[in-house]
């Protein structure tokens, strides 16, 4: 198994007026290809900051970050955009779909920025919508979809560019438990195909649907353990 993510001694501080808030205080961890990792921790533990740095949406003050073996350092915005597009897929708590675009158009967006032609974009997007069970809903606008459907569109969008790593920030945070399990069922199926997925969550049951849990506390890893994965399909009717 190849190491997909490797971080060493990662530090990050924010300036809050005159005070400096040290959020990440030397994080070390790695994730292998095909892992499904939950990152847990209380509010302010630094889990979202860590995910933002891993997603190249933010930059660490110090430390080393290797993504698929490539050292991520001193990236300008254009290069960061290129890396995000090629290596990473994002799933957000609030779905972050563009509300005037249909489900299909939302899913085609990463491919658009990859320069894929329109026909191919539509073919691929439809394939991933079918995978998340939304083929029939492809031409609906986000406000015509339920929360779970929206999140499944977001998952299809994160998948469509065939990224090496999918980063999910509280992906079930806005969903009821039944819908959460449905979404996690999709995530597990994607992971079964060999995708590396990192899930930031504060929900214990969701974390136990992953293969490994990293507990963050006050900016450091408190515990990092492999667990027996609970299959979400057991809870989905």
């Amino acid at each position: 198994m190849a190491t997909m993510i490797e971080i060493k001694d990662l530090h990050k501080s924010y300036q809050m007026g005159k005070n400096s808030l040290h959020v990440l205080k030397g994080i070390d961890f790695s994730a292998e290809e095909g892992e499904l990792v939950a990152i847990m921790g209380s509010s302010g533990s630094g889990k979202s900051t860590l995910l933002n740095i891993l997603g190249l949406l933010d930059v660490a003050d110090s430390g080393e970050y290797l993504l698929d073996g490539k050292l991520i350092k001193n990236l300008n915005e254009t290069k960061a955009a290129k890396y995000r597009n090629k290596f990473l897929g994002f799933i957000f708590q609030s779905f972050n779909l563009i509300n005037y675009k249909s489900a299909l158009e939302n899913v085609t967006l990463p491919l658009y920025y990859q320069g894929v032609n329109r026909k191919e974009r539509q073919r691929k997007a439809m394939k991933y919508l079918e995978m998340v069970g939304l083929k029939e809903w492809s031409h609906h606008l986000p406000n015509e979809l339920s929360g779970g459907q929206k999140q499944r569109v977001a998952i299809a969008r994160a998948m469509v560019g065939e990224p090496k790593v999918i980063l999910a920030d509280e992906l079930t945070g806005a969903l009821d438990s039944t819908t959460s399990y449905e979404v996690m069922d999709v995530i597990q199926k994607i992971n079964d195909q060999g995708n590396t997925i990192l899930v930031v969550t504060h929900e214990n049951d969701i974390a136990h649907m992953c293969k490994r849990i990293i507990y963050l506390k006050d900016g450091v890893i408190e515990e990092d353990k492999k667990i027996k994965q609970v299959r979400a399909s057991e809870y989905v009717q």
Binding site: N96, Y100, K101, E105, P110, G161
Partner: protein, 415 residues
């Protein structure tokens, strides 16, 4: 180049914000409309001025005299200055190379004019044969006063179209008929027309030699008038006419012992000097119209820019999503620029077409003094198109730049 999704996004945004887009477009369309109408009016003004000067020979110099206002060489002010034949002849000799046409004018006051038993109240002027070309008269029947008439002091007269209409029957040919002027029969040899219209057609012309003899004029002359030979450019023509004007004034002031700084004893009207003043004025006004028009467009552009800033603010989260999905800063800039250029160009074209249609259809019917056929030429229209596209890009650039600089995480958190 043609990106259907980009266009789709533009139309989606427009659909979502119909009123906002309409008002934005209206400000640009009004700017272009005002610019084109002002430029058209400026062109109309230029046409009008050119037309006014076309009524007389454009390089005409006209001389008249009044009384002196300054004491000079022992002579008191208040002395009337009388032009004479010898002045005319001297100028003719002295400026032979420069002059094209020349004529002295002797005005006859209170001459009784009859056609048969009908009294006519028109002014009678004695002129030289060159006067036709100085005053730009065209003949509609017969001929003008000629050199032979002048040399032989012939009793011939030229009447105007207006007099013909008012005095003679519709089908009657006035040529070879006789007018009675101060009890002497004058044969009508021609009928003239003047571009100045009825106002300029109140005059009856007879040879100056005849006028001076019959009306006891001796060698007295009221006016001198000249045109100069054509020059290769307007500026050269103005230069030549100013030199002639100066030489003429110098001679007349010396001949009549008039102070060089006497403002009113000897006067000249130099049509080229006047034309230059008008053209300078028209040029100034056109510059002013451009200035006002450009300012109006700038106001429109600022409006579009403001709206685009609001658009960027409204779409902050969307911009964050796009960036997270791999949009490069340049593609965000291109998206905003594309939209602002499209809105500006479409509304600007609307204003351009509407204003040009108005000028095209109404322009030929506009007849105000000094304004004739306001229109905008093709080059100006093309320039305006470039101004529009540039304006759209400027309007979009700062909002686009701002959008590209939005931090992705902050944008994603935007509510």
């Amino acid at each position: 180049m043609f990106d259907i999704e980009r266009w789709q996004e533009i139309f989606d945004t427009i659909r979502k914000n119909k009123l906002r887009t309409f008002l934005t477009g209206l400000s640009v369309a009004s700017g272009i409309f005002i610019l084109v109408i002002l430029l058209g009016f400026g062109q109309g003004l230029q046409n009008g001025v050119a037309n006014e000067f076309a009524e007389d020979a454009s390089n005409r110099i006209w001389v008249w005299t009044q009384t002196t206002t300054k004491e000079y060489k022992g002579l008191n002010p208040g002395r009337p200055i009388q032009l004479r034949n010898e002045n005319h002849k001297f100028i003719e000799r002295q400026f032979k190379e420069e002059l094209d046409h020349r004529s002295a004018v002797f005005r006859i006051r209170d001459a009784s004019v009859y056609y048969k038993k009908e009294v006519l109240s028109y002014s009678v002027q004695g002129i030289s044969y060159g006067y036709q070309f100085i005053d730009n008269q065209h003949m509609s029947a017969g001929r003008f006063i000629n050199q032979l008439d002048e040399e032989s002091a012939a009793k011939v007269v030229v009447i105007s179209n207006k007099i013909r209409r008012e005095v003679f029957d519709k089908d009657q040919d006035p040529v070879n008929e006789f007018l009675d002027i101060a009890g002497i029969k004058f044969k009508i040899v021609g009928v003239y027309g003047d571009h100045g219209g009825d106002r300029e057609e109140e005059r009856i012309f007879i040879p100056i030699t005849t006028a001076q003899r019959v009306f006891n004029g001796a060698d007295r002359v009221n006016n001198l008038s000249y045109t100069l030979k054509p020059a290769s450019s307007f500026n050269e023509a103005v230069e030549a006419s100013l030199n002639f004007d100066e030489g003429l004034q110098k001679y007349l002031r010396e001949a009549h012992i008039v102070a060089p700084d006497d403002p009113s004893a000897i006067n000249t009207f130099n049509s080229l000097r006047e034309a230059r003043r008008y053209y300078n004025l028209v040029d100034g006004m056109k510059m002013f119209f451009w200035f006002v028009g450009i300012c109006t467009i700038i106001a429109g552009v600022v409006g579009v820019s403001n709206i685009m800033l609001i658009v960027v603010k409204d779409r902050t989260r969307e911009i964050g999503i796009r960036k997270a999905l791999g949009a490069k800063p340049w593609s965000i800039i291109a998206m905003i620029l594309h939209e602002s250029t499209f809105i500006t160009a479409i509304s600007g074209f609307g204003g351009l077409i509407f204003s040009m249609a108005i000028l095209e259809f109404l322009g030929p019917y506009i007849e105000i003094e000094y304004v004739l056929n306001p229109s905008v030429n093709f080059n100006v229209a093309i320039s305006t198109v470039f101004v529009l596209i540039l304006a759209g890009m400027i309007a979009g650039f700062f909002p686009a730049w701002r959008a590209a600089r939005i931090h992705t995480i902050e944008a994603l958190r935007d509510e």
